[in-house]
């Protein structure tokens, strides 16, 4: 345990706006709230290690960002900080000391009294973590009443906490399903802060929220952490989110902490190749660059290599990395688990490639939408939307959740049929619903769904999923079908091994690639991508975006790319329209709109995008 990091005391970034929070976190005066030492989680008591040798400290008023791809063990650690492990897992070793008390060795009853009161948890998906059968008021009050807070004090505390989380008092009488995603997450925040804990663990609380809501939730997190001077651990796969919030960042890979240090330093001079790779995958709202995905996948528990677990994907790998597992070493203020840390730190800058965009050859429009009004039952969700998509171009459709962007895409694809107006595709008018459209029109417009976990039939193999499309649209022989299926999978870098796999044997990124292959195999002219990366890790998102861009260029595809993240538009969109409450509020070539729009709303959306500031 000799190489354990010392408690890091760094002035707060991001929180610095609040003088109170700042004052309490100046170097030297910070008191350590959480000390984690040699934390280890296994599959069962003596099974395969999921998380090993994790040690870090968090001081009062400090926010530690815990970053990594899915499967890296972030959530396992987050839950471990409350002395909890999911079914099948067991905390096998280590200490989690909260104000000096080791949560892993105290009796269950004492642990229960600390949970919620001294250490609180904010879940990833509040729509699942709030009880659907209980009103919000009950769920908030019980958090207080179960920790010996007197009935008289509860109501006053409730009023305080609702105000702090910027919630209206009437949410108390509501059920979770009656609230928006942002409100639900605020309720979860209010619940976590209600007992004034000294440590708060936030497990990807903004995943699934659009950038604007995310920013508001992050603002709430920031101000609450300041106000109560709590120590916070913020788990995320998105470095950009962590950057604006965390004083310290801890990067996880394959169940180990591979880098730990002050956020500013880690992000400007990363010491571990993995950290560098993660940073390169983050899209920037300011300038277009080719996103660098991380090829391959992290090794799953039980199949981690003997040497460095990142050695299989590392561009800077040397022979020693494969043979010998690195230990943590201090480089400057950073703790890095890499043999080459001192040599590589700050010198891994890769040249950011600017994407080459083929010059516009034709200005013919492939799709035109005129005065589109769309409805769900009685309520109108789109109001007189006009747009054209030029052949060979990628139109990005941007807006918050509820702005109608998915409805627009569904109308164009014929999946939503309750609309008025005109849709013209290649000069021909499109029928209201896909059922009424001729087969050839269906083939020419293909749709890729947001969530690859639900858009692939779990009982079909990859081959069946892709070749079924061919059966639908082409009368071709079996061997040609097999050939085209293989070719389509190859174009998304999936080899023959994948043909016989089922979706649940694939990672999220692989599933989305199968979905893309399914769309491409019928040689469409237009591809509609509906938030195709929002369910994926940033590193996987980079791979998918680059893949889509090169496919679009090679195959002369016309694309509609729907997203709430303006940074992605910079990387893939050529034209942009901004939707707000069902109306187009801004449009134009993407560079022009992103850089100097006159529309205040667009500028606001730009400001909301989390970014890595270097």
């Amino acid at each position: 345990m000799g190489e354990m990091p010392t408690p890091l005391a760094i002035p707060l970034r991001g929180i610095a706006a609040n003088p109170v929070g700042f004052a309490k976190a100046v170097p030297g005066s910070a008191s350590t709230v959480l000390e984690v030492r040699g934390f280890e989680v296994r599959l069962g008591e003596h099974g395969v290690a999921i998380v090993t040798d994790v040690s870090f400290d968090v001081a009062a008023g400090e926010v530690l960002g815990l970053v990594g791809e899915s499967g890296s063990g972030k959530t396992t650690i987050a839950l471990g900080l409350l002395g909890h492990s999911r079914r099948g897992l067991a905390i096998a070793a280590g200490e989690v000391r909260l104000n000096g008390v080791d949560l892993l060795s105290i009796p269950a009853r004492q642990l229960r009294n600390l949970r919620g009161a001294r250490v609180a948890y904010v879940p990833q998906d509040p729509s699942a973590a709030l009880n659907p059968a209980l009103r919000i008021g009950i769920q908030l009050r019980e958090a207080l009443s179960s920790h010996q807070i007197e009935a008289r004090a509860i109501e006053a505390r409730l009023a305080d906490i609702l105000g702090e989380a910027r919630l209206e008092a009437n949410v108390l009488r509501r059920y979770p399903h009656q609230l928006s995603g942002g409100q639900q997450q605020r309720v979860a925040l209010a619940m976590a802060f209600s007992c004034r804990p000294s440590l708060i663990v936030l497990d990807e609380p903004t995943t699934g929220l659009d950038v604007t809501t995310q920013r508001h939730v992050l603002d709430s997190v920031r101000s609450l952490c300041c106000l109560y001077d709590v120590a916070a651990v913020y788990v995320s796969h998105d470095l950009a989110v962590v950057d604006g919030l965390a004083t310290t960042v801890a990067v996880m890979y394959a169940g180990q902490l591979i880098e730990l240090g002050p956020t500013a330093e880690v992000f400007s001079r990363p010491g571990h190749p993995y950290t560098r790779s993660l940073l390169d995958a983050v899209p920037s709202p300011e300038r277009a660059h080719v996103l660098q995905g991380i090829p391959g996948q992290p090794p799953p528990p039980g199949r981690r290599p003997q040497g460095c677990s990142f050695s299989t994907r590392c561009p800077w790998v040397i022979e020693r990395c494969r043979m010998e597992a690195p230990t943590t070493q201090s480089v400057g203020n950073q703790q890095v688990r890499c043999h080459r840390a001192s040599e590589l730190r700050g010198s891994m800058e890769r040249k950011m490639l600017v994407p080459t965009v083929r010059p516009v050859t034709s200005k013919a429009s492939l799709l035109s939408v005129e005065a589109l009004d769309a409805f769900y039952g009685d309520s109108q969700v789109l109001f007189g939307v006009d747009l054209t998509v030029d052949t060979d171009r990628c139109l990005a459709v941007v807006g918050e959740s509820g702005s109608g962007k998915t409805t627009l895409a569904r109308c164009i694809a014929g999946l939503h049929s309750n609309w008025k107006g005109k849709l013209r595709f290649d000069g021909q008018e499109l029928a209201r619903s896909a059922r009424q459209r001729p087969s050839v029109a269906l083939r020419r417009i293909q749709y890729i769904f947001q969530n690859p976990y639900t858009s692939l039939n779990p009982r079909h193999t990859v081959e069946q999923i892709v070749s079924q499309q061919l059966r639908q649209f082409f009368e071709i022989k079996a061997h040609e079908r097999a050939e085209r299926t293989r070719a389509a999978l190859e174009s998304v870098s999936l080899n023959e091994r994948y043909l016989d796999l089922f979706p649940d044997e694939l990672s999220g990124g692989e599933r989305q690639r199968v979905a893309i292959a399914r769309a491409l195999v019928v040689e469409p002219e237009m591809l509609i991508c509906d938030e195709v990366t929002s369910a994926l890790d940033v590193s996987v998102q980079a791979v998918i975006i680059e893949m889509l861009r090169s496919l679009q260029q090679e195959r002369h595809l016309t694309m509609i790319f729907i997203t709430h993240n303006l940074a992605l538009v910079r990387s893939i969109g050529q034209d942009i329209i901004v939707l707000r409450d069902g109306r187009v509020v801004d449009r134009g070539p993407s560079e022009a709109v992103l850089d100097h729009s006159d529309e205040a709303y667009t500028r606001q959306l730009m400001a909301d995008v989390p970014r890595v500031e270097l």
Binding site: L79, L82, H84, R86, R87, R112, N113, L114, R115, G116, A117, A120, Y121, P123, D125, A128, A129, L130, N131, P132, A133, L134, I138, E142, A143, S146, H147, Y175, H177, Q178, M191
Partner: protein
């Protein structure tokens, strides 16, 4: 009534009021269809009711006289109309077997059967839900696995096998603790002779408990493994509160559906059980009436069973809706 609905529709009909209205209307329609089918089915049965009553040795004249009395000489639509109007005005007619008013014959049987169904259903629900919840709380324990094996075994047995096995075990070959038949004395109701109720009730309980136990366990396991239960634990709530306040209400919806299904099953199950134990309920009444070609009795019993199905279905839907705010309250 009109005023109330007028006011409700003026805003937006309450989902429960809406459901009740729709289901009640559908239920009435269902009963009419059932009544028609029952009438037609008993009508097309081969043979002649008059012959069946009088026996094959009856003289032609007597048969014709009886046919006249029963309106059997009229056209089928006339007969249907006479029967339906009689039904709606409460004139259920007389039994063909003994000439006594139908209702007087059916009513004590109905009471006995209702008592049997209620007692078995209540005991079965308490045991089934309790054991199911217990198995879910101790998932993968010895109790969970053992109860799974035992209940799956029992669930595989047909009702009459269970009944006969109980008779062999408790009243004839092995022990002689209980009477093998449950002939309630005429003029008294079933609850006055509880000893006679034990075997029929036990049979029905054994039949329904495995089913309820499995379904409750599944619903409860799902609730206990949900994110909101994990969240409740991480909030530091007591285990008691986690189970009773957070998990249970979410398991109620699916469980209610199962309880409803079980009561529906019981309505059919009593036919077998009452026959095996000679218990004077409507199940046995139905079997006897079919043997006697006692058309009015068959018709009324089938209608009562159909009405029971309709009512139970509406009830389970309403309770399940009450237990599921997500479905009850719009966004």
């Amino acid at each position: 009534m009109v005023v109330v609905t007028g006011r409700l529709t003026a805003k937006r009909p309450h989902p429960i009021a809406q459901l009740l209205w729709r289901r009640a209307a559908l239920g009435v329609a269902t009963l009419l269809v059932v009544a028609t089918i029952v009438f037609l089915a008993t009508e097309v049965l081969p043979g002649n009711a008059a012959y069946a009553i009088l026996g094959h040795t009856a003289s032609r004249a007597r048969v014709i006289a009886l046919e006249h009395q029963l309106h059997l000489n009229r056209g089928i639509f006339d007969q249907y109309w006479i029967w339906l109007t009689g039904l709606l005005s409460g004139r259920l007619g007389d039994s063909l077997a003994n000439g006594m008013p139908v209702w007087g014959q059916v009513e004590p049987r109905l009471v006995n059967s209702a008592f049997l169904v209620l007692v078995s259903g209540a005991i079965g629900t308490v045991l089934g839900v309790g054991l199911g919840a217990l198995a879910a709380l101790r998932k993968d324990s010895f109790f969970d696995h053992a109860s799974s094996v035992v209940f799956l075994g029992v669930a595989a047995l047909p009702t009459f096998v269970v009944a006969i096995a109980l008779i062999i075990l408790l009243s004839t070959l092995v022990f002689h603790l209980l009477p093998a038949v449950s002939m309630i004395s005429p003029g008294t109701y079933a609850w006055s002779q509880p000893r006679l109720m034990v075997l029929p009730v036990t049979t029905l309980v054994l039949i329904i408990v495995p089913y309820m136990q499995r379904m409750t366990r599944a619903a409860m396991v799902e609730a206990l493994e949900s994110d909101y239960v994990e969240m409740a634990r991480l909030k530091g709530l007591s285990e008691r509160r986690v189970v009773l306040v957070h998990a249970l209400p979410n398991a109620v919806g699916p469980t209610i559906q199962v309880i409803g299904l079980v009561f529906l099953y019981l309505a059919g199950g009593i036919v077998v059980v009452e026959t095996v134990f000679d218990f004077p309920g409507i199940g046995q009444g139905l079997v006897n009436a079919v043997a006697d070609r006692d058309l009015p009795v068959i018709q009324i019993i089938v209608l009562i069973l159909a009405a029971f199905y309709v009512v139970i279905n509406i009830l389970t839907d309403v309770i399940a809706l009450l237990a599921t705010p997500r479905r009850r309250i719009a966004r």
